[in-house]
Each structure stands twice: as structure tokens, then as C-alpha cells.
Amino acid sequence: MIEARHLVKRFRDKKRGAVCAVNDVSFSCRPGEIYGLLGANGAGKTTMLRMLATILEPSEGTAIVAGFDVAKEPQKVRSCVGFLSTATALYGRLSAQEMVEYFGRLQGLDEPTLRRRIDEIFARLEMNDFRDRRCDKLSTGMKQKVSIARTLVHDPSVMIFDEPTVGLDVMAARTIAAFIRECRDSGKTVVFSTHVMREVEKLCDHIGIIHDGKLLAEGTLPQLRERFGVQDLEDLFVKVVES
């Protein structure tokens, strides 16, 4: 479960001065649900998700993730969260297995559990052929699988995806989409940010439209269509942002 409560994040920027990247955002996402944060570049999606993953500290407000407060117990939150984005790269000089082992150990898994989890995940994602190959020698699709394995190794109850398909080809993007659905079907709480309308339509149970750091509208896709009287998601998005 994720419950964001009046989250605010301010930065100091040399050129722009004080910037409010996220401005009083509240939403919630239940287990077995995918919540999609839809917004243009610079809308505040990444900052929002980084706060949920405790990579950034909120300036105001808080969020309860898997029962823990992001401001008070960030390490406990991180133990329950799997965070994946195109910015979360792999250690090129480690092998696929070493990469996943490293994160499993940091998650506090004991060696027998770690072995069992790695064997399960590697078999499920068909990674055994390249488990000993260095990450910098892997194809984009293989790298994506290693990243997925890294987020899954501790079996987190909450998954956070920050524009996970940016820059990926169709096949790699489909692997990610399938993985996101799988997470929901296994009862995990999933938050997902994107600016690709089609991904939102295909994957999300709930949608939040974010612009200039503010959550302008949220609901299921049918609810939003009804409220704004627009069927096409792109038109709907533009209407919300311009209103």
C-alpha cells in the first residue's frame, strides 16, 4: 500500500532560484493495483517517485509505503520497495549474478535464501544463459532483465517504475509491460510514471495527471473520461493540463 500525504519537494536551482518540483500531492495505491502518474517531461513525476522510494527527502508532507513512513523510516521503506527506472543502471564490471547478489545481500537476505531467490528469478526471466556474463557485455533486453531481477530479489511488496520504457525498443518495452502486469497480478502495489498515453491505457487501474508539480486530476480511466467528457486519452490529458 502507498499513501502519499501532501508531499512537497522544493529545490534550490542556480538559474531558476527556488523551485517547487512537487506541490502538495496526495494519492493512494492499494495492493494488486497499478497507479499511473501521467505527465509531461519536467512535471515532477521523477521527483515524486524518488520521494516514495526515499531517494529524496520530502520538504513537507510524507508518505506511508508498505506501512512505513518515508521521512522517519527510509531504510525500512527501501526494504519493501523495488525501484526501476532508466536512470537505475547496472554495474558494468559485475556479472548479472553478482549484480543481483549484491543487492540481495544489501537487502539483508541470508545466503541460502539469496541462492534460492536468484535461482527462481533467473529461471523465470530466462537469464541462466548469461548469468556469468558481465553487465556491460549484455544486450539492452538482457540488461532490462537484470534490472528486473535486481528489483525483485528481496520480493518487495511495492514496486515503483519511473518511465521504465524510455529509450527501449518494442521487445524490451513489452518485457517491462508484462513484468508490471505480473507484479500487479501477484498482489504487489505498483506505481508507474510515464508520458506515453498508450502505456497508461494498457496498464493502469488508476491514473493521476501531474503538471507543474501538482496533481490536477485522478481516477480510473472511465471516471476521467466521464468527468472531462473526452474519450481520447491524449485529448483528455491536454484538456486537464490546460484547464
Binding site: 529545490f11 534550490r12 522510494a53 526515499t54 531517494i55 529524496l56 527527502e57 531504510q75 525500512k76 527501501r78 526494504s79 520497495v81 525501484f83 527506472s85 536512470a87 537505475t88 543502471a89 547496472l90 554495474y91 558494468g92 564490471r93 559485475l94 553478482e98 549484491y102 543487492f103 545481500r105 544489501l106 537487502q107 539483508g108 558481465r134 535486481r150
Partner: protein, 403 residues
């Protein structure tokens, strides 16, 4: 404090770094090559060059002297110089290394010498040029001997004892044992290299583990794991320190072996005519002591480099921050080589210079334990401050996500 997490981060960073060619080169290859090259290679090369210069029969020019056949005949008889015909552009010829030196015989030199009249012989040479120096030395020796002989002849003619012109002698006696003389000569250079390599050994991993991680996008990956930022920075710091210490240890070991082997080689090479520098002996006690005084400096370097490169957005930016640091370190390390710079309680508080000076003393066999303790403590204090800054910087979002 979870030692387990610090250990996990350290182990990963160690594996990662040992697979990186550039880290291996700076941490292992450079220290293993620099010392043998410096001691055996450079030593042999300079001895070869000096002995070649000494073996050369210098070409010298005699200017004037047409009215002084006696001195001219004596000069012509010299078999360790080659007399070339006089030309007006002698200075140019010396500069162009066509001749090594020239001597100007004043008008009526023979006659003035016989009549007891004073005159001045001028020797022209190119200062700082080894072979020109040897040529000029030869000429100077000739005229000095001639002057002494003339003085003796004048005294004998007047039936006066030689002590009239030389009432007493001055003799200088060296009380320093040979290894201390060597220590003074080479003792400054060795710590300079140890300190410099200690810094360069830590440099690459520090940049790779911070700015490099930001650049490659792995910083965000590691920050979303439950490891605390303090444990993360400590694990990384230990890796950088390992690289720095490994470089220092390998340098010291390679230095000891090189001196052992180099000394034998050079003694054989010079047929035993080794100068004081070759009398240097690096004892086990000196090696351990240098390691102890260098250790807090390695901690200081590692933490400072880590903090500095963490601030950078990219590897390139980190390099631009760290390059000036090289000068900051090299200057005090070089200052210890300057003549007359000696370890005092005040200088014992100056980072780098203190370590450089105390190492110089240790190599020459002098142990000022009170100053060694002061240096160890002051360097440890600087190291603690640098490490605290590195840990603090790792908590700052504006540093970690600087774009």
C-alpha cells in the same frame, strides 16, 4: 553501525575496481614499475652519462698567448684535452657544444710570470653544462698547478719556507655515517614518491566510485537499496583507502627491493666507486615506520578525494577538481627536498610536508619519536575531518543529484 553492510559495499567495490584496468594500473603496475625505473634505470642512466662525459677528451681553444711560448708549450703537452685552433667566435662554439671551453692568456703572460707581476687568465665555459664543466675544470687544474709551482719557485729563490704562502691548512671531516649522507641525498626523494603514489593510487578509484557512478547512472540504483548512506560512503572509502595503501605498500616494497638490487648493480657498474647516495640502506624498521606515518595521510587523501570527486557531476569534472590537488600535494612534498628545511614541532602540523620530512629523517636513521607521534596525531585529525566531510556530503541531495 552495520559492519556487514560496509563489508558488502567494500567487497563489491573491490571486485569492481580490480576488474578495472585503469585502477589496476594506478594501484599495482605504476608503483611496481616506478621505483625500479627510478633507482636502477635512472641511476644507471645518469652514471652512464656522467662516465661518458668524463671519458670524453674535451676540445678547448686557447685565445692569445702568441708572446708566451712557455705556457703555450705546456698547454700543448696536456694529453687529456684537445687543443683546437683559436677563432673569434669561441663563445658561440662553446654554446653550440663544438668546443667545451676556452682559455684567454693575457698579453706578456710568460714575462709577467717571470717578473712576479700579476695577471688574469680567463676561462670561458657554459655554466651548468656537464661536459663544458669538465673541460673548464681541466684548464683550471692546469693553471692552479702552474700558480702553485710558481709560488714555490719564488719562495725557493728567496729562500723562504712554503708556509709563508700557506701558514695553515683547513680540513673538513664528515661525522655523519654514510647511510645518513645517503639519507640526506635520497631521503627526500623517496617519501616524495611514496606520498605522490599514495595520492595517485587513490585518485582513480575515488573518482570512479563517486563521479563515475553518477555518470554511469548506478548512483541512483545503489541509493534505492536499504544500505544507509553512511555505510555506503564508508564502504567506498575503505576501497579507496585500500588502493592508496596498496600503492604505498607496493611502492615501499618495490623501493626496498630496487635499492637492494640497484645498489649491487651500480656498485658493480661503477667498479665500487659508488658515491654516498649508494650507501643508503633501507631497514625493516624504516619501512614499518614510514608505513605508520603514511597511513593517516592515506586516510586523509582517500577521504578528501572521495569528498571532492563526489561533488563532481562527471568523471571529467572530477578530474578538473583533482588536478589542482596534485599541485597542492606536490608542493609541500617537494618543499621537504629543499636544503635546510628541517622537521620542527610547527612543521609537524603541516599536512604532507610533515610526513615527507619525517620520512626523510627515518630513511637517514633519525627517529624523533615525539615528532613522529605529533605527525601521526595531526594527520589523523586531518583525516577524520576529511572523512566526516565525505560522509556529510553523501547525505546531501544537492550533491548526489547535482545536474
Amino acid at each position: 553501525m552495520s559492519v556487514r553492510n560496509v563489508g558488502i559495499v567494500y567487497r563489491k567495490e573491490l571486485i569492481d575496481s580490480l576488474r578495472d584496468r585503469r585502477t589496476v594500473i594506478s594501484m599495482i603496475v605504476v608503483p611496481l614499475l616506478v621505483m625500479p625505473l627510478l633507482t636502477i634505470g635512472m641511476g644507471a642512466l645518469s652514471l652512464t652519462l656522467v662516465s661518458l662525459a668524463m671519458k670524453e677528451v674535451p676540445s678547448v681553444m686557447i685565445l692569445g698567448g702568441e708572446d708566451s711560448p712557455r705556457v703555450m708549450a705546456d698547454l700543448q703537452r696536456l694529453n687529456d684535452v684537445r687543443i683546437v685552433p683559436a677563432k673569434p667566435d669561441y663563445a658561440e662554439e662553446i654554446s653550440n657544444k663544438e668546443i667545451r671551453a676556452a682559455v684567454e692568456i693575457p698579453k706578456g703572460f710568460d714575462a709577467k710570470l717571470a717578473g712576479g707581476e700579476s695577471s688574469t687568465v680567463k676561462i670561458f665555459m657554459y655554466e651548468g653544462e656537464l661536459k663544458s664543466g669538465f673541460g673548464a675544470d681541466r684548464l683550471q687544474r692546469f693553471f692552479r698547478e702552474m700558480r702553485d709551482r710558481t709560488v714555490r719557485e719564488h719562495l725557493q729563490a728567496r729562500q723562504l719556507p712554503e708556509t709563508v704562502a700557506r701558514p695553515f691548512d683547513i680540513e673538513e671531516k664528515n661525522v655523519a655515517p654514510p647511510e645518513k649522507v645517503g639519507g640526506v641525498l635520497l631521503g627526500g626523494i623517496i617519501p616524495y614518491f611514496v606520498i605522490l603514489l599514495c595520492l595517485t593510487g587513490a585518485m582513480y578509484p575515488a573518482m570512479d566510485l563517486t563521479a563515475g557512478e553518477k555518470e554511469r547512472g548506478t548512483m541512483e540504483t545503489i541509493l534505492c537499496s536499504p544500505v544507509s548512506r553512511t555505510h555506503l560512503v564508508l564502504g567506498k572509502f575503505l576501497m579507496v583507502l585500500t588502493a592508496s595503501i596498496a600503492t604505498a605498500v607496493l611502492t615501499i616494497a618495490s623501493m626496498a627491493v630496487s635499492f637492494g638490487a640497484g645498489k649491487k648493480m651500480l656498485l658493480a657498474f661503477t667498479y665500487g666507486a659508488a658515491d654516498a647516495a649508494l650507501q643508503i640502506t633501507i631497514t625493516g624498521k624504516a619501512i614499518v615506520s614510514i608505513f605508520i606515518v603514511v597511513l593517516p595521510l592515506a586516510v586523509f587523501f582517500s577521504a578528501a578525494l572521495l569528498a571532492l570527486s563526489l561533488f563532481a557531476k562527471s568523471f571529467k569534472e572530477a578530474q578538473s577538481y583533482i588536478s589542482p590537488l596534485m599541485i597542492v600535494v606536490v608542493l609541500p612534498a617537494v618543499a621537504a627536498l629543499l636544503p635546510g628545511v628541517e622537521l620542527t614541532p610547527a612543521l609537524a602540523l603541516l599536512p604532507v610536508l610533515n610526513t615527507s620530512l619525517v620520512s626523510k629523517e627515518i630513511i637517514s636513521g633519525t627517529y624523533h619519536w615525539d615528532l613522529i607521534a605529533l605527525i601521526f596525531l595531526s594527520s589523523s585529525a586531518y583525516a577524520s575531518v576529511a572523512l566526516a566531510i565525505a560522509v556529510k556530503l553523501f547525505q546531501r541531495e544537492d550533491v548526489l543529484f547535482r545536474t
